[in-house]
């Protein structure tokens, strides 16, 4: 009998990779139609608990990501669902062509889940801080791109992508991040979630930036600025309706992402709105530069992707 999924406590700080390990073990007990493909980084991605609990569900490739990625296409051909997991720099860049040609072009049912995304990586520094994964992955046709806001949303999203037919890329956060959702959350692929109502400005945030957007909204409330916060967990396909609502019902949009502002989530929102409902926009993100070593809670201020940066951008829009 399968056990009830245990959610993380709202308000606590939890690393999303801890949720990855938990949901992997849970889903291994719930269904036997998927396998994890790892390249010697289960300790880093958070998949380790599965290796201990269900070693028969893990295909090990060693440090050879191109082989792992193309092999995932072959594994999918047998009817199994491969969950490919590595660091984003390897999954979304080194093995990018394997993902594009062997997986996406063939419409293979592969789920790529990568940790070590954005400045959230912290002290490992620029080579491990993947600030370009939204850019590389959303540029490939027919790929669903997901960036969950917290550990609980991640677990729901993981269940959803196993049920979804087709190639998916999903981010796994590394550092402790506030849990904003409870067990009552209802994640749906392609559906943005309005976390807070507001009439002056909308912050469209993704991943770790969602908690920072909520913090910024609270600060701005004290100044009399009413901020709507929308969690854009599915970056592709984008929720056009919710973006248009934000553009037409508030005076401007601030996008917030732990990613390069070039070709990232904000760019996706801008592409959408330029066509459907042109809006005034500000982009909070890493401003086209490489990352750096530092703690995950020190880097956001240095790179201006903290709550204060969101506050500043919102103020500028309502002026």
């Amino acid at each position: 009998m399968m056990s009830e999924l245990s959610y993380f406590e709202k308000g606590k700080e939890v690393s999303v990779r801890e949720a990855f390990g938990r949901i992997l073990v849970h889903e291994a007990g719930a269904r036997n139609d998927w396998v994890l493909l790892d390249a010697d980084v289960a300790g880093g991605t958070g998949a380790k608990p599965l290796v201990g609990a269900h070693p028969d569900r893990v295909m090990q490739f060693g440090i050879a990501e191109q082989n792992m990625m193309a092999a995932a296409a072959g594994v999918a051909d047998t009817g199994l669902i491969p969950v490919v997991s590595t660091f984003a720099a390897f999954g979304c860049m080194r093995a990018h062509e394997q993902f594009r040609t062997a997986i996406a072009y063939a419409g293979r049912n592969v789920k790529l889940c990568c940790s070590h995304i954005g400045l959230d990586v912290g002290p490992d520094g620029a080579t491990a801080q993947m600030l370009e994964d939204f850019a590389t992955m959303r540029a490939i046709p027919d790929v669903t791109v997901i960036s969950p806001a917290d550990a609980n949303e991640f677990m729901q999203a993981f269940k959803a992508i196993l049920d979804h037919e087709g190639p998916v890329y999903m981010r796994i956060g590394r550092s402790p991040t506030p849990v904003v959702y409870g067990a009552d959350h209802d994640f749906k692929i392609g559906k943005a979630h309005r976390l807070r109502e507001g009439k002056d400005v909308t912050v469209v945030a993704t991943g770790v930036m969602v908690a920072r957007a909520l913090e910024a909204a609270k600060t701005l409330e004290g100044e009399g600025i009413s901020v709507r916060v929308v969690n854009l967990a599915t970056i592709k396909p984008i929720d056009v309706e919710e973006m248009v609502a934000a553009a037409t019902e508030t005076k401007g949009i601030v996008t917030a992402e732990d990613h390069n502002i070039m070709a990232g989530m904000g760019s996706a929102v801008a592409e959408c709105l330029a066509e459907h409902a042109p809006a005034r926009m500000k982009f909070v993100g890493v401003k086209d530069r490489f990352g750096k070593s530092g703690e995950h809670n020190e880097l956001p201020a240095m790179f201006e992707i903290d709550a204060a940066a969101i506050v500043k951008a919102c103020r500028a829009l309502v002026k």
Binding site: Q66, N67, A71, A73, T78, E97
Partner: protein, 270 residues
């Protein structure tokens, strides 16, 4: 004539050249060098069902050197996956017969054309079969260019280490690559010794001898705990004298009317 593998290989060659001629582009040399292997695989060794191309328990085939797809499409057409006339819509707008293998084509088990990814895809199929306890076998044809890609060697290391005895590679050693002979671009050295050192069973054959190809594939079935790597000595452009061993015919080429006529005349007489 269906049971005569040499005759089938001849038909694959004819259809490949007709398709490339009609397309006014494509790669004849490498298509002709694999025709005999495809005949043995699709008409003798592999357990497949053209009426049900996606049958999950079928034997798999990956053409890693995807530019030789005119021969693959020809083999699939003659085996009954789709009409032979459709194979001749190669590279044409509106056709699904893409310039490099497209997974949507009935019978094509994997997309390819970017060298170096085919063996990994075959490895994944073989690993899936082991995981699911299924007896089907996976075959991959790699070319000289494939053997220069690092991805291929990752797959060779992995498959050898894992002892994937349900995986067979046929290496089409035709000695010429896109711009020049393999020996001047990046020599592969003793391929059999290298692959063998990664834990593979290796066999060397004449890649145009259908009896030898069949024997090597049968031998592979008896090898336990190791994948098999068949080093096939081949001639680029095999079967058409003015194409044999001539770099120009690697492609992509536009064939002239007289060139097609001469080639078909030779193949007719063969």
């Amino acid at each position: 004539m269906r049971n005569d593998l040499n005759e089938i290989a001849r038909q694959i060659r004819v259809t490949s050249l007709e398709a490339i001629y009609k397309a006014r582009s494509g790669h004849p040399g490498g298509s002709l060098s694999i025709a005999d292997m495809l005949a043995v695989l699709y008409f003798d060794v592999m357990n497949v069902d053209p009426a049900n191309p996606g049958w999950l328990d079928r034997d798999r085939f990956v053409l890693s050197k995807g530019h030789a797809c005119p021969a693959l499409y020809a083999a699939l057409a003659h085996r009954g996956y789709f009409p032979v006339e459709e194979a001749k819509t190669l590279r044409q707008i509106g056709s699904i017969m893409e310039g490099h293998p497209d997974f949507r084509i009935p019978g094509v088990d994997a997309p390819s054309g970017s060298l170096g990814m085919g063996l990994s895809q075959g490895l994944g199929m073989a690993m899936g079969a082991k995981h699911l306890g299924k007896p089907f076998r996976t075959h991959v044809i790699v070319g000289d260019g494939d053997m220069q890609e690092g991805n291929t060697w990752e797959a060779i290391m992995s498959a050898g280490f894992k002892g994937m005895d349900n995986l067979v590679v046929i290496y089409d050693g035709n000695k010429l690559q896109g711009d020049a002979p393999v020996e001047t671009q990046l020599s592969l050295g003793d391929v059999a010794a290298k692959v063998s050192s990664f834990g593979w069973h290796t066999v060397a054959i004449d890649g145009h001898d259908t009896v030898a190809i069949k024997a090597a594939l049968e031998e592979a079935k008896t090898v336990k705990g190791k994948p098999t790597f068949i080093v096939a000595d081949t001639v680029k452009g095999k079967g058409v004298s003015f194409m044999e061993g001539v770099l120009y015919w690697h492609g992509s080429v536009t064939m002239k009317d007289q060139e097609l006529a001469d080639a078909l005349k030779e193949l007719e007489a063969a």
